[in-house]
Amino acid sequence: MIAGLVSIVICAYNNWPDVEMTIESALNQSHHPVEVIVVDNSSMDATPEEVPKRFCPAVRYVRQPNRHYAGACNTGFELASGEFIQFVAGDDVLAPNKIEKQVEIFRANPGLDIVYGDVRMFQTLAGVANWTDVESKPEQDYLKAFIDTDEQWTGITALGVLFHRKAIEKVGPWDESMYVEDLDYWLRATWAGCRFGYCAGSPMGFVRLWPGQKTNNKLAMSRGMEAVWEKALGYVTREPYRGLIAANLARSRFYLALTRNQMTTREASAKLALARATSPGTISALAYAAGYATIILPGGFILTRSRRLRPIRWLLARLLRYPIPG
């Protein structure tokens, strides 16, 4: 480890030419020194030719079989020799003073393991902007904040985070089997006792939105969330966190049962029963019955699919206090 050095790990997968700006934003930081490691998950575009040609030796270029974002982070961390680690997806942009601002916070509070801040989103193509930018804030109980969906706090984006090396050593590698690998990492980090610090002020970076992004795949996201909560139940042993996680797990199972995607009626009913068994306090008998009706009745299928029935879905969701997918 080299004290004061910041390692910026860029995970690239078919991001040319966007990754050019990402690399430039990492190389041209107001903080010095930085080392930039580009981990290429076997891109099939111009990345393997262009990145070494344009940026080596200023960046270190590593090509590996596609192990997704988590795998690229792990490879990058193995190669990194910095005291602080920054992970960046290959199409996002770091603010010019991002590293400087967050290193200042680490210097002022040496007990911290992870510093996070806000990011803003932007579109690849022009058009109407249609998303919600999250404003994060300091929290008292981070584990509760990550779990408790009622608070609607999703304030940590991997781009806005700077890790101290000791945090990653404490938590261990990113889970390459997870679809929602970042939430899994934040949960494990808080459970392992990492201390989080908040960096206020201007945006720490800009996240690119494009069609076909993995977070746009709603079904895969809810399957991924189910996996995250299921895994979390395996290691979180304290209350009230366990109860909250079980409630989340039950909700995502309920949701998946109702979408009935690639599931027979029988499987969907079994999933629904599993949801109720996971947390009977969350999925009440009434909700269970209503869910069951939408699965087995012929009209129920339309209820979860039709755009026009959205008000009824909304009403049901209000009555049952669960989201009805659609």
């Binding site: 430039e24 934003s25 603010a95 003073n97 932007f122 930018d133």
Partner: protein, 328 residues
């Protein structure tokens, strides 16, 4: 003038702490041969202490009486040594390779005077996003593209000037509220050649409440002033009639949106729009406009009648694109 040098002129007015990221985005460019000039329009926040203290000799700090963006640009340009000039407002962010990309376009096309590219917006605070990002493209006839409705609008943040363009066009007009549209019109009229720089956003523009472009009635008056000024020097056809069509469209839109206007004023504005260029605002358009003005505001604003009105506009009016843009 120093060849190859880029002067980044930052216009700051009570932008602390946002201006810090702006200055850093200028200093931390992948193109290294540049100077940064911060022109402070007499900010009353920590800008005058913090900027010289934090950035020292890496930026040139000039404080002046508040003369608006245009005045800051003029002072900045007078102090600039560079071959290329970039103007930035004190809360926007340049993309890290913006200058490099656009200088490459200048090097490849030495006849160009102005290079422009795309800009993306972001919000000062969190919350739901609700705006339209515009896409730029190469234009054959820039004057026509700017003057003709719906008209394209270059964002100063996404533009890099060659020094000779600024010398040719002259200073920014400090008396106008919308100084940029005026500048693009004058530059296109003066025969500046525009080049388009594709690939990636060139910068990020901050959106915040209380921004001057959010003051819709001041913007409306401002754009009128710009058009009126343009009519004074644009003497060639078809640009003059395109300009007149734009003014007619704008007045028509202003009348039917009825922002801070009595019914009587709105009707007078409609009549003015029709008389500006009768070919643009047909009798039918005029009638629909009058109907909309006369009908009670609640009726016009409700979402049900909006559908009817939209189909009306689509049927009879060719101004739809203009309305879309004006609304966003």
């Amino acid at each position: 003038m120093t060849p190859g040098l880029v002067s980044v002129v930052i216009c700051a007015y009570n932008n602390w702490p946002d201006v810090e990221i702006t200055i850093q985005s200028a200093l931390c460019q992948s193109y290294q041969l540049l100077e940064v000039i911060v022109v402070d329009n007499s900010s009353t926040d920590p800008t005058p202490e913090e900027v010289p203290r934090r950035f020292g000799r890496r930026v040139r700090y000039i404080r002046q009486p508040n003369k608006g963006c245009a005045g800051a640009y003029n002072v900045g340009f007078a102090a600039a040594q560079g071959e290329f000039i970039q103007f930035v407002d004190g809360d926007d962010v340049l993309a890290p390779n913006k200058i490099q990309k656009q200088v490459e376009v200048f090097r490849a096309n030495p006849e160009l005077d102005i290079v422009y590219g795309d800009v993306r917006m972001f919000q000062a605070a969190g919350g739901a996003a609700n705006w339209t990002d515009h896409a730029m493209q190469p234009e054959d006839d820039m004057l026509k593209s700017i003057a003709a409705p719906p008209g394209i609008l270059l964002n100063t943040l996404g533009v890099l000037f060659h020094r000779r363009a600024l010398e040719k066009v002259g200073p920014w007009d400090e008396s106008l509220y919308i100084e940029d549209v005026d500048y693009w019109l004058r530059a296109a009229w003066a025969g500046c050649r525009f080049g388009y720089c594709s690939g990636g956003p060139m910068g990020f523009g901050r959106l915040r409440p209380g921004q001057k472009s959010k003051n819709s009635s001041a913007m409306a008056r401002g754009i009128e002033a710009v058009w009126a000024k343009a009519l004074g020097y644009v003497t060639r056809e078809p640009y003059r009639s395109l300009l007149l069509a734009s003014i007619a469209h704008w007045r028509f839109y202003e009348a039917i949106s009825r922002d801070k206007m009595s019914k009587r004023e709105a009707l007078a504005m409609l009549a003015l729009a029709r008389s500006t260029r009768p070919e643009t605002i047909s009798a039918l358009d005029y009638a629909v406009g009058c109907l909309r003005v006369i009908l009670p505001a609640g009726f016009v604003r409700s979402s049900w009648t909006r559908v009817v009105l939209r189909s009306f506009i689509r049927l009879f009016d060719r101004n739809l694109g203009y309305f879309r843009r004006a609304r966003s």
